[in-house]
Amino acid sequence: MADRERDAVSGTETTGHEWDGVKELDTPLPRWWLYIFYACILAAIIYWVLMPAWPIGNGYTKGVLGFSDRNNVAADVSNLRSARAPMYERLAAASTAEIAADPALQEFARAAGESVFGDYCRTCHGAGGAGAPGYPVLADDVWIWGGSLADIEHTLRVGIRSGHPEARNSMMPAFGRDGLLTPQQVGDVTEHVISISAARTRLDPNGASAARGATIYQEQCAACHGPSGAGDRTLGAPSLNDDLWLYGGSRTEIRRQIELGRGGVMPAWESRFDAGTLRALAYYVHEMGGGEPDAIPVPATTETIAPEPAQNGQATAPLN
């Protein structure tokens, strides 16, 4: 290349390209840049040999290291599962008192419960158990089926109106829609329900109407909700004395509930989660703020939880 033209001013060779009398200098690349460039080419070739690189038809070159992101993730997940397994086993076997005495177990239950809750429960019950119309608030101290750890765990296990053989079932009649009561009577019951609840201070029930409703209430409602409206957890009948309403606390919503007798469905999670996960979830919900102390201690092994007969029958009368 000895015959290449040199620029007179800079002494640098030109590329021989010329545009409108302007010639391009063939200025050498900086050395450091050139060396890094060569190193990159070399690294790329080494990479092709070692790692998955080129697509071929339906597959790709696998590389001699046998690296696979998919396998790595699968291995990570299975490692994590086996690392957590002992804690889940401990949790499944622990009583409420044992959990309360073991901060490490609590922390594990809380974290595992929060994670599962976020995936499966939050859609209906809201973040932090905030609830929504028709979906009970889990953070408060009102429990339709009981708020002890064992009660919550049992509800999780069998679900509500879920079709599970042991499911917690309750069925409020649709008094208005099914013509069990006339619209006038539904209105009277509504006034009575308001008058026995804490909502009476804000909704100002009609005294005459409420008095008529009281009679109907004792005939139609008191069997489940109790003569004074205190509710009955064994039947899944909510208390009517407080000012917390599953389907809304306005006069219209209270009346609509008497007309329609709405009742939601909660899936039975027994077939989806193992005993440890169920216990963690129950602990997390119990700890949201409204959890109640145990009446009966949680058995050491969850398998021995006997279904409470009273909760099975929707139509049959309770045994005691």
Binding site: P28, G128, G289
Partner: protein, 494 residues
């Protein structure tokens, strides 16, 4: 590319001249020109000894510090200086800083910048000349190079000589020792981030974390490249400080200066010739030969000069031999250069508004830091209100808000603290361990953040909206108190 023929002239009796070119001076450097190797000659004298001493002390501090132990009690970290990323702590002898106390490090950095401003205002680039790692490690590498290949002339001859067994042996052993020093540099660095004795054992048994080897590798490479092969190019091209220092130095700052008023006109001088009508500079170029930056100090103050003062040693030696007073090259100021040209005497002004200001700022920052450390709180509280649900209505009509409390205990001992709330009438705490006064008592773990979930219940009828609520934790033993402000939210009718 032209290369001056290098002739060893020092061997000639009575002749002090040396054929050295300032290859790194601005005029000698072209943009696309390959770097010319600099072969600094060994200087001897006060400043060379000062630099040896600085090198020993600074390298000593660097290598020994991670091995110093400091007893913090049973089962606690016993390394005096440790940056513990995993445990999120910075240990410095009696101090143990948490990540949120990073402002002490900021204070230290501010102090360090004022220190470098002050030293620049007083003595020019002393940092560059004596203390900069680039200078210290380059000096160490040149020391090794000189020990194996000989001084300037021997090294130049060796590089020109054709490859031989002896040359290859020298080159290989030089680079091997350089790589060893580089590896030891990277090796010492990682000890600042982990327990040194454990890490030392793990490194050699192959059990250390891959990142440890990675960082040793990176620092080995940079040390070898920067001190072995790049040297003055780092100062000339890469370092911002030579550019910034122009703002730090004023007319009265001392820097290594060739006293042109005394030296010029320069010229060769034979023994017995008169000194009348000429300057003291005999143009022997010894100052250029010893310069590790490859410049000629007689061109005046320049960006490439790191003020290492080796040219002062070289010139003083020559001045002594020719029987002229020392100090033709010396620490001096621009102001004095001007004064001498006007026939006035030199005047040294170390205490000036600028140096007083820097000194005062350093004192203030240091005082603030000492005050901060002396009154440092070892107990603090963070409160995070649950946002979903924003509030919970209870069966009896009362309203509950939930809070996550973080109790930060910075001491070695677990502390029993009492949690209480104030600011909302009738508000009470709900938690497992209530005492007789309705306060919650919990144990804050030693040297850790303890999480506590707290429920606060306000009686029925609490007004709708946001209420101020303050949380207080009180150490039952010492009475130390920490407070955090939060809010209580209540909604309207269901």
């Amino acid at each position: 590319m032209t290369k001056t023929t290098l002739i060893d002239t020092t061997a000639r009796a009575g002749d002090l001249a040396i054929d050295a070119r300032a290859v790194n001076s601005k005029e000698a450097r072209a943009l696309y020109q390959k770097r010319e190797q600099i072969y600094p000659k060994l200087a001897q004298g006060f400043f060379r000894n000062l630099k040896w001493a600085a090198m020993v002390v600074l390298l000593g501090i660097y290598y020994i510090t991670p091995w110093l132990r400091w007893d913090r009690g049973e089962g606690r970290v016993d390394q005096a200086v440790l940056v513990d990323f995993e445990g999120r702590r910075f240990y410095f002898f009696f101090l143990e800083l948490w990540p949120q106390e990073v402002y002490y490090i900021t204070g230290l950095l501010i102090l360090a910048s004022f220190a470098i401003f002050l030293s620049s205002a007083l003595f020019g680039r002393v940092w560059c000349g004596y203390a900069c790692p680039q200078t210290v490690w380059t000096d160490l590498y040149i020391y090794v190079e000189r020990a194996i290949e000989g001084d300037r002339n021997a090294r130049m001859r060796l590089d020109k000589a054709p490859m031989s067994l002896s040359k290859a042996g020298k080159k290989v052993s030089k680079h091997l020792i350089w790589i060893l020093i580089a590896a030891a540099t990277g090796g010492a660095w990682v000890f600042y981030f982990g327990d040194a004795p454990t890490l030392f054992r793990n490194i050699f048994t192959g059990q250390a974390d891959p990142t440890v080897y990675l960082f040793i590798g990176i620092l080995t490479f940079t040390t070898y490249a920067l001190a072995g092969t790049m040297r003055e190019q780092v100062c000339t091209y890469m370092c911002p400080w030579p550019r910034i220092q122009a703002a730090m130095i004023d007319k009265d700052a001392l820097s290594v200066t060739y006293r042109a008023d005394r030296g010029e006109p320069r010229g060769a001088h034979k023994k017995g010739d008169t000194w009348e009508g000429r300057g003291d500079c005999i143009d022997c170029r010894q100052c250029v030969a010893v310069c590790p930056q490859g410049i000629d100090i007689r061109d005046g103050d320049q960006l490439e000069c790191i003020n290492c003062a080796l040219c002062i040693d070289a010139c003083d030696e020559v001045m002594e031999k020719v029987g002229r007073p020392k100090g033709l090259i010396a620490y001096d100021s621009y102001a004095n250069l001007e004064r001498r040209q006007q026939g006035k005497g030199a005047r040294y002004k170390l205490i000036r508004p600028r140096t007083i200001l820097y000194g005062a700022l350093m004192t203030i920052v240091a005082a603030l830091m000492i005050y901060g450390l002396a009154t440092r709180h070892t107990l603090s509280l963070n409160v995070i209100r649950d946002r979903s649900p924003p509030f919970v209505r209870l069966a009896d009509g009362s309203i509950r808000n939930d809070y996550a409390l973080k109790l930060i205990n910075m001491t070695d001992q677990p502390r029993r603290v009492q949690i209480s709330v104030a600011g909302l009438d009738g508000a009470r705490l709900l938690a497992p361990a209530l005492n007789a006064e309705g306060n919650v008592v919990v144990d804050a773990n030693a040297d850790a953040v303890t999480n506590v979930r707290i429920h606060v219940v306000a009686p029925p009828g609490v007004s709708t909206g946001s209420h101020d609520l303050s949380f207080t934790i009180r150490d039952s033993a010492t009475g130390e108190v920490a407070t955090s402000e939060s809010a209580f939210l209540a909604g309207g009718a269901p």
